[in-house]
């Protein structure tokens, strides 16, 4: 293919190398990994559970979340781009723009502000807030309340200001619980599902 890049054409093309060397060098904020860091308030033990899809090939590697009945956990959520070296921590930017982001926990396994599932295995509560006092969801409390297996979904919603109007408002989690995500504005940046088991 280099044959095309003869000098006379090179002037006109100016792009031979750029064409044959594809890159993703524009900053695109790819997220490859979601990590839930669970620290037991009982044992003080910290265990990370990850949802990883480096290839974007549709078959992510997901750690099943295991909780102990009656235990209460401090849960830190992080969003990473593991294709970067060093690994890029997108959750830092999420925290910086807390007024335009919120993490939601939904699904059959979880009961909390965004989910009123009957038969949920654990209760989630927000443990952080943005400058307006609205929940952010990078820090949370999980309390394992029932034995069994189920699943739950972690959703990072980007809620950028539209014109001068804030899209992130109070009470979004209650809207999600009632109407699902079609009831709120913004874009979904992350939407991943973890299996969860609560053991005795």
């Amino acid at each position: 293919m280099k044959a095309y890049c003869i000098p006379a054409l090179l002037v006109l093309l100016g792009a031979c190398e750029a064409t044959t060397q594809p890159s993703e060098e524009n900053e695109v904020e790819l997220i490859t990994t979601v990590v839930l860091d669970l620290t037991s308030q009982t044992t003080g033990e910290s265990i990370p559970f990850a949802w990883v899809d480096l290839e974007g090939d549709g078959s992510p590697v997901v750690d099943p979340v295991v909780l102990a009945l009656g235990d209460i956990y401090d849960v830190q959520v992080s969003f990473l781009n593991e294709l970067e070296n060093p690994v890029e921590d997108i959750s830092v930017e999420v925290a910086d723009e807390a007024a335009e982001h919120q993490v939601f926990f939904t699904g059959a396994g979880v009961f909390g502000p965004a989910s009123d599932a009957a038969g949920a295995l654990f209760v989630q509560a927000y443990d952080d807030a943005d400058s307006d006092g609205n929940p952010l969801g990078l820090a949370n409390i999980f309390e394992a309340t029932s034995l069994g297996s189920s699943e739950f979904t972690v959703t990072l919603r980007h809620l950028p200001i539209q014109g001068d109007v804030a899209v992130k408002t109070s009470g979004l989690a209650a809207v999600v619980a009632a109407d699902g995500f079609s009831g709120i504005g913004g874009d979904t940046d992350v939407d991943v599902t973890f299996p969860v088991t609560v053991e005795p």
């Binding site: 524009n26 990994t33 974007g56 874009d187 939407d191 991943v192």
Partner: protein
């Protein structure tokens, strides 16, 4: 004059075929013995509609696709302000060919929100050819061809120009357009042109809410010089197009559930807070298109003509998503650079006998194209080489003409995939290691295609000056585009995971289209039917997993239905046409309509995205006042039926209901102080009806914009 169009259905006594592989372009001022009076529309074996300066004046303030939508069989898909795409006989833009001044417009035309980067103000006339026309115009001309012809350059010394302003109520848009043409007395034969315009609009408004983030701004500039030497000429021109446009907040990445949610269907979430401003937020597009070309036309002593063109164009499209932090680069960044050369030989007419003439020509063309893509995973870089050759002959006898043409095209393309993109394909079984060669962490995947097209056509003037028949039997082909082969990702506006199929072959259409035109006193009618069979019609549709269930792709942004590009055999058929009574008289009545059916031959099911049946009717009052030239007052209705032929589960959301819009207009030209002034007001959707258009990308998210007044004032000097 017809209120919206001047459609040619008249019989031309002397059939002169202005053959050109790339359409009839205005640089033929030097050859006006051949073409000045007649457009291709009059001698075409295809159903062809020509929009002249008056039609284009009335469309001023609209983008190209909207300007074409008055033509029977043509509709458009809107994605925002200055962002509509034409559809001809049910074929979307990837199956259409757009020629600007005879040069193929090369852009990322596969995208649903990638409108053609062409300035309608720069057109002196636009010709719309309906139906497959691959032999004449080259690959992609499956559904039709749009020929944008700049105004002719000056042929005598002096200076002239135009100044126009347009105000559009919806979006509070303002447009200013200026053109200057000249030929100095000291340099006879050397004509020049400077032309530019600026259009700026705020967020559009539906009848019930503002479409947040649909503000846009477009500016264009073009310059040309032409030197004529007797029957020969050389022309050089350059044009620049520049668009900044917001993409409606409502069309953000979403889920299928959200698209089908009746609440969201009624009104987009958050729309009650949207106000119309000139500010362009995110998501937005920033698009430029540059075209530089040189053309030589050489009239030989024996009457033959040689035409040679070189054109270089750069299409740069950046799409910005809402981002975090200091990110200021585009998340989707496409650069497409295209070199085109073509040479055409138009032979001298050969008189074979009394009333028997042979016309025709042949030509070759070649192109080199490079695509550089950066951003979120979507399409690969590629470099392609293409070449084509064609020949054409036309036998003209008294009252009829037959023509025969053939064309051969080759394209070889190497795509360059990142190893991540390659692995994403490999995991889904669409690429295997042997399909590509790995070199320095880059997968090179080569493809080569060849295709031949033929066409046979004729015009028969059944009743001279009254009834004529045209028949066209054509084939046309299209090479699969980069997105169809290698797309890998999720476009922001559609909640599906799209994956290309590198095994796709050439899509070929065999088309037949008989057209009948009749003209009696002030009544004329034209009806054109068509039936096309397309082999390897590349359809974007839900993929099935090995068990036959819809395939789902799990990504970090959620689980999306997988959509793939699959080849099917498709049949398109239908009819379009118009009827005019009282043309150019005090009262004129015009009706036009179009019906398209598209069927997957194997399943018998309808295809997705085909325009519903359309019928419109306009009444014009055209009194003669001494001081006014061509005054008119029009009222029309435009009815679009519901598309009921969509199979369940394939489209993302159900088709919207039928709707009827009322439109109106008035205008005139007048002379004052030796200048010609033109004034007009056009009203679209007078009753401010809420509706969604099936072919519009917006229909998944929101209503179409509501009532719009366009006021224009211009003068020529």
């Amino acid at each position: 004059m017809h209120p919206t169009l001047r459609v040619v259905a008249v019989v031309v006594a002397a059939l002169v075929y202005p053959f050109s592989a790339h359409g009839q372009s205005s640089d033929d001022a030097a050859l006006d013995i051949v073409v000045v009076e007649e457009s291709a529309a009059e001698t075409h074996t295809h159903a062809t509609t020509r929009l002249d300066a008056a039609d284009l004046d009335r469309a001023a303030g609209q983008d190209l696709a909207e300007s074409l939508s008055g033509v029977a069989g043509v509709t458009h898909a809107r994605c925002g302000a200055d962002n509509a795409k034409p559809i001809i006989r049910g074929q979307q833009e990837r199956r259409l060919l757009l020629l600007y001044d005879g040069v193929r417009h090369e852009s990322q035309k596969w995208g649903l929100d990638h409108a053609p980067e062409v300035d309608p103000f720069s057109a002196g006339a636009i010709e719309v050819v309906r139906g497959a026309a691959g032999v004449r115009y080259g690959p992609d001309a499956i559904g039709g061809v749009v020929l944008v012809e700049p105004k002719p350059m000056r042929s005598e010394t002096g200076v002239d120009g135009e100044f126009g302003v347009v105000g559009v109520s919806n979006g509070r848009r303002g447009v200013v357009d200026v053109r200057l043409d000249g030929m100095a007395a000291s340099t006879p034969g050397l004509s020049w042109r400077l032309h530019g315009n600026l259009s700026k609009g705020a967020d559009l408004q539906t009848p019930t809410y503002v479409l947040g983030n649909t503000a846009s701004q477009v500016w264009n500039a073009d310059a040309s010089v032409q030197q004529t030497f007797g029957r020969s000429s050389v022309k050089a021109s350059y044009r620049h197009y520049d668009l900044s446009a917001g993409l409606c907040y409502c069309a953000s990445n979403t889920s299928l559930d959200a698209l089908r949610d009746p609440l969201a269907l009624d009104q987009p979430v958050g729309s009650e807070d949207w106000v119309s401003t000139y500010e362009i937020g995110s998501p937005r597009q920033q698009v430029t298109h540059d075209l530089a070309m040189v053309r030589g036309v050489f009239g030989l002593a024996n009457g033959a003509v040689i035409r040679a063109t070189y054109a270089f164009q750069v299409n740069h499209r950046e799409e910005f998503e809402p981002t975090r932090g200091e990110v200021d680069t585009a998340q989707y960044d496409f650069s497409l650079r295209t070199h085109l050369v073509d040479g055409a030989f138009v032979q001298q007419d050969r008189v074979l006998g009394e009333q028997l003439t042979l016309e025709g020509g042949f030509g070759v063309d070649a192109g080199l194209q490079e695509n550089i893509y950066q951003g979120l995973p979507l399409i690969p870089n590629f470099r392609s080489l293409s070449a084509g050759m064609y020949a054409h002959q036309r036998l003209v006898v008294e009252g009829a003409a037959v023509e025969l043409g053939g064309r051969y095209d080759h394209q070889s393309r190497t795509s360059y995939l990142t190893s991540t993109a390659f692995r994403a394909h490999e995991a889904r079984g669409t690429l295997a290691p042997e399909d590509c060669s790995l070199d320095d962490d880059v997968q090179r995947c080569g493809k080569a295609y060849n295709t031949a097209s033929v066409s046979v056509g004729g015009i028969w003037h059944l009743v001279p000056d009254a009834v004529d028949l045209r028949l066209d039997l054509s084939s046309a082909s299209r090479f699969p585009s980069a997105d169809e082969l290698y797309m890998n990702g999720s476009a922001p506006t559609s909640p599906v995971y799209a994956i290309g199929d590198p095994g796709l072959g050439v899509e070929t259409t065999w088309a037949s289209s008989p057209t009948v035109g009749a003209h009696w006193r002030s009544v004329w009618v034209e009806a054109s039917t068509f039936a096309n069979y397309t082999r390897n019609y590349i359809q974007f549709a839900p993929s099935l997993d090995p068990t036959g269930a819809p395939a789902i792709d799990v990504t970090i942004r959620g689980a999306f239905p997988r959509y793939g590009f699959s080849p099917i055999d498709a049949v398109f058929y239908g009819v379009d046409g118009q009827f005019v009574a009282g043309e150019d008289e005090l009262f004129e009545w015009a009706v036009q309509g179009a019906v398209v059916r598209a069927v997957d031959v194997q399943s018998g099911q309808g295809l997705v995205g085909i325009p519903p049946d359309q019928l419109s009717s306009t009444v014009a009052f055209q009194p003669q006042f001494r001081a006014l030239k061509d005054p008119y007052l029009t009222v029309g209705v435009d009815h679009m039926a519901e598309q009921t032929r969509v199979p369940d589960g394939v489209d993302l959301a159900p088709p919207p209901p039928a709707y009827t819009l009322v439109n109106a207009g008035l205008g005139t030209r007048f002379e004052a102080k030796r200048r010609t002034y033109a004034f007009g007001v056009e009203v679209h959707n007078l009753l401010n009806t809420r509706y969604r258009s099936y072919t519009s990308l917006l229909r998944y998210f929101t209503d179409e914009p509501g009532r719009e007044f366009r006021v224009r004032l211009g003068f020529e000097f």
